[in-house]
Symmetry: C2
Subunit: 110 residues, 2 copies
DNA sequence: GACCGATATGCCGAATTTGACATATGGTAG
DNA sequence: CTACCATATGTCAAATTCGGCATATCGGTC
C-alpha cells in the first residue's frame, strides 16, 4: 500500500465535504477517506455523549490516549479496523454502524 | 491486540449464525467477526457478479490472489481495512456498504 | 500570571498486516 | 488420466499500524 502520498494531508484541514476536488484522489481513495472521517467524527460524538475522556476510551479499548486522539482526527496512521473496533467497544450496533457509514458528512451535493 | 486467541478459528467452520455461543467471545469481538464475515461474503458475491477471478480482483486492488482468497475466507490475517478497500475498489458505494454491514447474515433470530 | 485536566503531536520499538511466492486442492474438458 | 484454470493454504520479509511515552497546546479556575 502506498498511501504515504496524499493521506498525509487527508485530515489536516480537509474535514470539509469532499477533498476529492482539491487533491487528485481516485474515487476509491476519496471514498475511503470520507468513510474514515465519518467514523472518526462519530467516535468523538459517541465518546462525548458518554462523558468519557480520550484516556477513558483508550482504557476501554486497550489503547492509549494519543491513539484515540489520532483516531478522532482521522489520522492516516489509524486503520478503519481500529476505528470500527473502538466504535464497537462503545457499544455501537451494526445497525448504527451502518447508519454512520451511509450518512453524508454534510450534504454531498454536486 | 491479542487476537491470536479464538480468531484462529473464527472462519474455519463458523460461517453459521453467531459464533458467540460456541466460543467465549465478548459482544464486541463477536460483532467484529460477524462484520468481517459479512464483508467477506459480500466481496465474493460482488467479484463473481462481475465475472472476475480472484487474480483479477487482486490486480485491481494491487494485491495478490492468495490474499484475495484469504479475504473471502474471512481469514484472521486480513483486516477490515483491506476488506473494505477491496469492496470500494469494486465500486461499492457507501450506501451499499452500509447495507452490507447491517444486513443479517442469516436471520439473527434469538 | 500559575495550575490543571483534556486533547494534540511527534516519535519509537514492537506487533500486526501485507504482497508475493510456492504449493496443494478442486473442478472440468479433452 | 492429463492438462488446465481457479481457488485454498502456508510461509516469510517488508510495510504498516500499534501502544506507549514525552511533550506541546488548549481552555478553564483560581
Amino acid at each position: 500500500m502506498r498511501k504515504e502520498r496524499k493521506e498525509r494531508l487527508e485530515a489536516k484541514g480537509w474535514k470539509v465535504g469532499t477533498a476529492r476536488e482539491f487533491l487528485g484522489l481516485s474515487d476509491e481513495e476519496a471514498a475511503y477517506i470520507e468513510l474514515k472521517l465519518r467514523l472518526a467524527e462519530s467516535l468523538r460524538k459517541r465518546r462525548r455523549h458518554r462523558r468519557l475522556t480520550q484516556a477513558d476510551l483508550a482504557m476501554l479499548v486497550g489503547s492509549s490516549q494519543s491513539r484515540v486522539a489520532k483516531m478522532e482526527a482521522g489520522d492516516p496512521s489509524v486503520s478503519l479496523d481500529l476505528l470500527i473496533r473502538s466504535l464497537l467497544a462503545l457499544g455501537t450496533s451494526s445497525r448504527e454502524l451502518s447508519r454512520i457509514i451511509s450518512s453524508p458528512r454534510f450534504a454531498s451535493a454536486t
